[in-house]
Amino acid sequence: MRRLPKVEGERIDRSEEVRFLFEGKPVRGYRGDTVTSALAASGVRVLGRSFKYHRRRGILSAADHDANALMQVRLADRSVPNVRADVVPVESGWQVSAVNTRGGLAHDRLAVLDRLKPFLPVGFYYKAFHSKRLFPRWERMFRHLSGLGTVDLRAARRSTPKRYDFCDVLVIGAGPSGLAAALAAAGRGARVLLIDENPAAGGSGCYARGGASTALNKTTALLSDVGADLRIRLLTSAYAAGYYADHWLALVTNECIVKVRAGSVIIAQGAYEQPAVFRGNDLPGVMLASAAQRLLYHQAVASARRVAVLTANAHGYAAALDALGNGIEVAAVLDVRDAAGALSAAAGEELTRRGVALHYGVTPLEAVARRGGEVAGLHFQSRTGRSSTRHRIALDGVWMSVGFAPANALLYQAGAQLSYVPALAQFLPTRLPPGVYACGKVNGVYGFEERLLDGRAAGDEAAAGLGFGSAPAARVRPPPLESPNHPYPIFPHPRGGEFVDFDEDLTVKDLANACQEGFDSSELLKRFSTVGMGPSQGKHSNMNALRILGSIRGESLETLGPTTARPMFHPVPLSHLAGRGFTPERRTALDEEHAALGAVWMPAANWRRPEYYAVPGKSRQEAIAAEVRAVRTRVGLIDVGTLGKIEVHGPQAAEFLERVYTARYARLAIGLTRYCLMLDESGVVIDDGVVARLGAESFYFTTTTGNSAILFREFGRLATWWGLPVGLVNLTGHYSAFNLAGPDSRALLAEHTTLDLSNEAFPYLGLREAVIAGAPCRIMRVGFVGELGYEIHLPAEYALDVWRALRASGARFQLQTFGVEAQRILRLEKGHIIVSQDTDGVTNALEIGVNWALRMEKPFFIGQRSLAILGKQPRRQTLVGFDLPAGALRRPREAHLILDGGQIAGRVTSTCLSPTLGRCIGLALVTPAVAEGKTLRIRVDRGEEIEAAIVAPPFYDREGERQRLEQPKPAVDAIRPRAALTSARRRSPLESALAGAAPERSPAANAPLRFLDLSPRERFGCKGPGAEPWLAAAGFTVPRAPNSARVDASGVLVARLAAAEFLIEAVEGGAERVAAARGQLGSAARPAEVYPVARADLVIGISGAHLNRLLRQICSVDFAPLLESRAATSGPVTLTSMIGVSVVALLRDGIDGEPVLTLWVDPSFAHYFWTTLLEVGRDIGAVAVNEYSGAEARESASSHAIHQRG
């Protein structure tokens, strides 16, 4: 237990001392020391207490599975639990203490549990503590007695990034075979990512030396070759936690999880040395030979003065030579086998020459401890011929080297077939899935030179599989000269105490008992005994447990097979797993307005909408009632921009709608709207909205908020399936909509438009296209809330100004903005249903009183055939209206049950206290028998029952007079535009986002990453069969290939999105040309078969040298190849998803040679997208800039002057 003089290849920096406290006592080490090595160098051998019996434990592996040396580390600002002392580099100022002790490590009061061992047999918990009532108490007690570290709840919240990475060949494990594999693959031209879980690469090549420097020198040479190869990236302190489909792996680094997509994967993870199982094998001082070697050569620490090496392979002999070479006395080499093997014979001779006693046929009987618990001696028996002798030797260290278990968890996860090979006493991959390769110890190859050959072959194969060079010759595996693994290194003792699992304190007897109880298959044994379930996840215990199971069952490991290995391969910090989450939220263009008006938000699909506007001094109910009354008596304004808004164009547009919806649209007149109802194939109601006819071959229609995205997608599928080549355009995010409703709505609207609003010129259910407050709008006379009303739809970039104009002049009419809740009440008073509130997943169209909308005589609509069948069957349920007398004290709520003779006969679907009617009204789905009666029995809160009268809706304005034509209010003719026809201006969707977020802005041209809002550029989109010829005729340069873009000489970008949609934008000039073409597309003289696509996009330009660092946190597509091949005037368009939002991405070369990425995003995601991008980019030094500087200035030159910031 001392620090050695300088050792060749040591990883400590002796010029920098590290001072820390362990269990309150000062300890010194060097930079590069792990907690364990610093303690070992200072003579500390007891590092922790075991999980269950609180036995003293020391070093076992020094390789990340010393589960008994977990530390609680107190830092200045937080306390970190379960720090792995064996691998974590210690730092000055740490206060380190062992977890799971009471009263300190030295005098742990819970050590008494070790003496209670006989009373704590395996499965003891299950048998003793199954009382449901008492279990919580026992659970608390045991959590306290047998635990790990303590979570520090005061620790500051941290946001862990997530990253993506890409490579051709991923090599896991940078030992000799992994290094050779990486070099071979890179040599063929593959991009290689090489990872290793240790802080430094080299693996056993650096520490398993056998007293010589050959392996070290060769490994060092390999490392320097790897460092010099630009195609290899080496990532240390990183492990692969899981293998997922198509070579997708989760790498865990100190900072975060990296999701790597590899072309192929080489597993070169090596093998874990395994303990021999004998009495006292857990005493501090008894350790794996490789642990001792790591300490010797990595940190120049001698872990003992006098050791015995218990071995069954050449590695033990090599370790003995390493001990001798570093001044550690070797008391004996104890070979479990009857004779040395072919590879160990020479080392054995050298050891004999140097005076080391060699014993063969050894059975270790017991390691004994001195006071204080550390190992002080070993009793063993050796055999020569037929005679056996007992020996006792005094020592302070036992090194075990009896075999290895391959680190094949990832191979297992990847689907490799693993078979037990008796000649090696090891599981080997015998069939590998495509693109997965194995080499080195995990592949059964142990010799240093052989591992280099095996690694090189794997590297060649992996690269060749990806097309880098021709396939190499098949690998030949010569039979091993000497097995590295003993088939049964297990030596039971009559008094027990031979530990199999050091994490869970399991001995041979425990496993035998579990088998005796009937848990005698590997998976059952694991669950009952918890073997392999501790923090080291069976890395040192599964193999021996399986051998014991095989021995008990009399079966070979060939038939037992390997145990299941699932992700995670190694415990992963929860903060890493949680990471930074991306939850896209949509906002309408009026979001900031609502916030300023005191909106109380409610979620609606992934949008947020005002439920109502809070009024100081008024309760929620009072505020909502006031909103309702304003609509009924004056005028109200509601943002309905979350509705799905879709256009369908083409000669077959009408047929498409007729097939999708239940009503008829072929003969719907231009300028009229009609209710639309959509069913699924079984006749169940799934959506509704309004269809408006814009032209002979053009319709505009709406869907409900929650269904808009999924239905637009489904419409595309249906059109493809039906072979109807219609042009579908999703305007949902690019268009805003609000409903101006109430008796005064006509007078108010008239102030902002020259459109004739008279009932004759613009009747109920009409549609008009007109300019309102300077913005091009579509206006529909709808009656959802049951008053004279105008639903105004317009491009989102104008919405704010039109909304403000209406509100400004609305003051005269006491205009009231109203929220979703008031709208729900208003429509309920009219008896209008809300699909998915008044219907559910089994409510068909015949049950909700909309037969007027079902045109069964049509040739086809979705669900029609099923309705025909349902129509012949008795009705299951019917939607009815009900009301309660004014002043009724007990009122029902939604989902309250309807009872009929004590049986459930339905439920309330909607109900409210109507501010207009002064009584409670509602809708209920009930059995036909109940519907035929006069009253409903409703079971309300606390099980009380009330009676309600069945009333046919609507409850209010039964004749529908109010929504059709207005009562004598100001004469229509008298209305003339009064307010100045303000000219609404286009606004960037970021205007409100920026106002809310107020990001740091800097004109710094040299920031590593710069974000610029390019939304105000002139732009339009189009699609349809006539689009390409029209664009070409208009003089635009149209790229041919799908997903490609070109910027022509006048600075206009034309991008082909997927196959046949186009995006045209003035990026470096040509704004007038773009505006002119846009104007033509929107005019009556629209070119034939060209369908306009509204593009109110959020457009962000991102430039800077660190662009790819950002992309690797936000997108699963590898942009590296595009970055390498980027050009100034053309490039591929990528339609993908970033931070959960669909984007159009174009990568080009800026004038100064830096890449410029332009992203087009649905404007309703603007706030989320921009703020999230800034947050992610902050770590990379991203800044938002007002304009590109220097060479990029031309980018912003064409940005509109109208783009101002408030």
Partner: protein
């Protein structure tokens, strides 16, 4: 995460795609029996094997057909849908 190849947009993570159900021939509603129609609407075959399915690349809205072996969880091929000669009701007047 699995990779799927969109015929237009190329190889992408499966998270960029949405499933649209198995490709099934709709019986002619005018001539089919109630029983056969109910079978078409409600019954699906879950037997592992090669399935022809609708998939959509959501950022671009491209619908295509993927042939997938559900027994091995492997995607065999993907291609754009070509409407075959199929029974369709007469277009609406």
């Amino acid at each position: 995460m699995k990779i799927m190849t969109c015929p237009i947009n190329g190889r992408r993570a499966i998270s960029e795609f949405a499933y649209g159900g198995e490709v099934r021939e709709m019986p002619d509603p005018a001539t089919v029996s109630d029983e056969s129609w109910a079978d078409y609407v409600f019954n699906r075959s879950g037997v592992p094997g090669v399935k022809k399915e609708w998939w959509c690349h959501t950022p671009s809205g491209v619908w295509f057909i993927a042939e997938r072996d559900t027994a091995t969880d492997s995607i065999l091929r993907t291609y754009l849908y070509a409407p075959q000669t199929q029974v369709r009701p007469e277009p609406a007047a």
